[in-house]
Symmetry: C2
């Protein structure tokens, strides 16, 4: 006999993170498995943003840069994110978008290997990462080379021409997790530097950048960090590179003395040199507020639950969905999987639409991937049960076959 | 006899823009002349942001990208800004910060002049502009050259090596206004392209990019556009360049089909190719909402009042402040002046602090500049009278000489 909803309820009962869910304002009747696209809103964010807009901006005006501490906000947010990615707070900058930060760090990394000519990336990584690697290579007069996706092929491509290896930590379609220590060590053995994209891992895994001796990383504020739509991104530079790293977007906030308005650009001594222009303060302060949802939450507990949710999902998939033509598009081994389970189905788009109509929000990635983000802070074991049961029912009843579910529109 | 407060009140009475001031939530007892640092909050912004946070994000979640129209927000904001800078809406992108957009457009412009080796900029322009020009030149292997500040010297430096001339439209210290048609024509006569920084002119002048045949421009959302702290910036590309311009920050939102997640980067056919990553939506939607303050306001009326406010300020300065050791740091001729009057005084820092203590907010720029932004949408002629009268009084009473006003701290 298969796993029951009662068994899942018992897992929720025993879940040490179960109470954290109450920190989020999840709408009634919705099961939200799309935190890898946009995280839900922590409950305390609206009061903070009201204060920022209606008091700090409205009454404080320009004085709030000092009086309300806006000018230090990027550093405060950095400290909160650093803990979640295994870094110290002086190694993390919060600024701009993931893509912009990627460009900064690719150029910075290439400048540390001036005798090398290749920016290497993985064949199946997120499109923006590919586009930016190719563009950075063009600007610098270097070669962008892709290899993999097989790990051995990727590592085999690390030769003496490679300046930087840019890798996505967790694949945005399959949820496959790349072994950070292994790839980092391989890059270093070849004399290259490594740059990790943590968009789909920060906030749901026990990311250990310092422990893996990573060089650089970027990541997203609006997915599993729940910072709100388009929240600022982050950039990590290992402490050993901080004194020498030179990034190309040399805006005034990256200056050693931004308010001196000096003629010459002198980079800030530490991680602040990753800053460029004035940060979008409403979005940045929403991210700061949202990160309080992680207060007191242990990374080991997050990783334990992210894996357990995936294991339950895959077990239920095996028991109930294989017969409907679904196949598993994620690694079965929890060690190799991020906090996500993806299924493939030729009718994937219509099935996702049917689920959304039932209040179960996952998302679809072409050509046939149904993607379910399992954020340990607010997803329950019973949610996982319910989504699999719903798919079983949708297929058994032919619900996906309604005309309104069949025509693709813009999806995010 | 000098100009009286009654005469200024009569000018307010006759001012066709006087009612627009009620669109702003200006705190009681404050005269705000620092819109060139951070614009004040339009009254209707809080309700919009509450809805964005507490309904669109909280309840709509990822569905709001389509259902609440987030995905089209950059284009909606572009259309509003285009009107204020003399462009068509398909020539303006809203994205990232001014500095990041400057980098994009400098690289894009240089690529249109592949046989030329110099990025030219003006000696006294805003520091970020200098830093980014120098960095873009370094990345591209070109030379950054500065000339001026004298207009003839600047134009004289335009030779056959110059790919791009990057100029600040209104000087951030003096408020001096560069003649856009003259410099643009001179750049073109030399075969170069021109890039204007409109940070201190968009929203307070009748900027005419298309009329001047400008090539590129960038500008700020949080100064005279009143979009809130760190609001997204804008970038302008003249229609004739749209089909060929290639910028280096090739993030997914600049792709022709962002949601296809294609392997190859194919730039969006029009201005959307200036986009990079996901925009900070709270800050972007605050900017959109704030721009409604310009509804129905004519650019000619804005320019008329910006000049008249400055003329009144300078007349009152001549009558009341010359004897206290102030000198005029802005052009006396309204034709050559942006929407700002700056004075110089060796005790400038202490005088600005004394004014702030009286609720009159201007700002200080080293070494000795007192800067007063005269935004026609909310500054009154009587405000101008009151600030000059206050400075007269502060000097006559020696108020600036209080210890609490004498020690510089961080200023923004």
């Amino acid at each position: 006999m298969g796993m029951t909803r009662q068994e899942c309820a018992a897992l929720d009962e025993a879940d040490g993170l179960a109470d954290i869910r109450h920190r989020f304002a999840l709408p009634e009747g919705v099961i939200y498995l799309d935190g890898n696209s946009l995280g839900p809103m922590p409950r305390h964010v609206p009061a903070r943003i009201r204060h920022v807009v209606e008091t700090e901006w409205s009454d404080g005006l320009v004085r709030s840069w000092n009086d309300a501490g806006w000018i230090e906000a990027p550093r405060r947010v950095s400290a909160r994110i650093a803990r979640l990615i295994g870094a110290t707070e002086d190694e993390v900058a919060v600024a701009d978008s993931t893509s912009v930060n990627l460009f900064k760090l690719l150029v910075a990394a290439a400048r540390l290997r001036p005798d090398r000519s290749v920016l290497l990336y993985a064949r199946d990584d997120f499109p923006t990462d590919r586009y930016i690697v190719e563009s950075a290579a063009e600007v610098l007069g270097l070669d962008a080379v892709c290899a993999g996706p097989d790990p051995d092929a990727l590592i085999g491509a690390l030769d003496e021409r490679v300046a930087v290896l840019a890798l996505t930590h967790v694949d945005y379609r399959s949820g496959a997790l790349k072994a950070m220590p292994r790839f980092t060590a391989a890059a270093h053995a070849a004399g290259a530097l490594i740059l990790w994209d943590l968009c789909h891992s920060a906030g749901v895994l026990d990311v250990g950048l310092d422990a893996a001796h990573a060089d650089f990383a970027v990541g997203c504020g609006y997915k599993y960090l729940n910072g709100g739509p388009g929240a600022p991104a982050f950039a990590y530079v290992a402490g050993r590179h901080l004194g020498v790293v030179r990034q190309p977007l040399t805006g005034w906030l990256g200056h050693a003395e931004p308010f001196a308005f000096a003629r010459e650009f002198i980079a800030a001594p530490g991680i602040d040199r990753l800053q460029c222009g004035t940060p979008p303060m409403l979005s940045l302060l929403a991210l700061e507020s949202a990160l309080e949802a992680f207060d007191g939450v242990d990374l080991a507990a997050i990783r334990f639950k992210s894996r357990a949710l995936g294991d339950v999902f895959i077990r239920l998939f095996g028991e109930r969905l294989g017969a409907h033509g679904f196949t598993l598009a994620s690694p079965r081994d929890g060690e190799l999987r991020g906090s996500q389970v993806s299924l493939a189905h030729p009718r994937g788009y219509a099935v996702i639409q049917s689920l959304i109509a039932r209040g179960i929000i996952g998302d679809f990635r072409p050509p046939d991937i149904l993607r379910f983000g399992l954020a340990p802070l607010y997803v329950r074991y019973t949610d996982v049960f319910d989504v699999v049961a719903a798919m079983d029912e949708i297929m058994a009843r032919g619900e996906w076959n309604q005309p309104r579910f069949l025509s693709p529109k813009t999806v995010t």
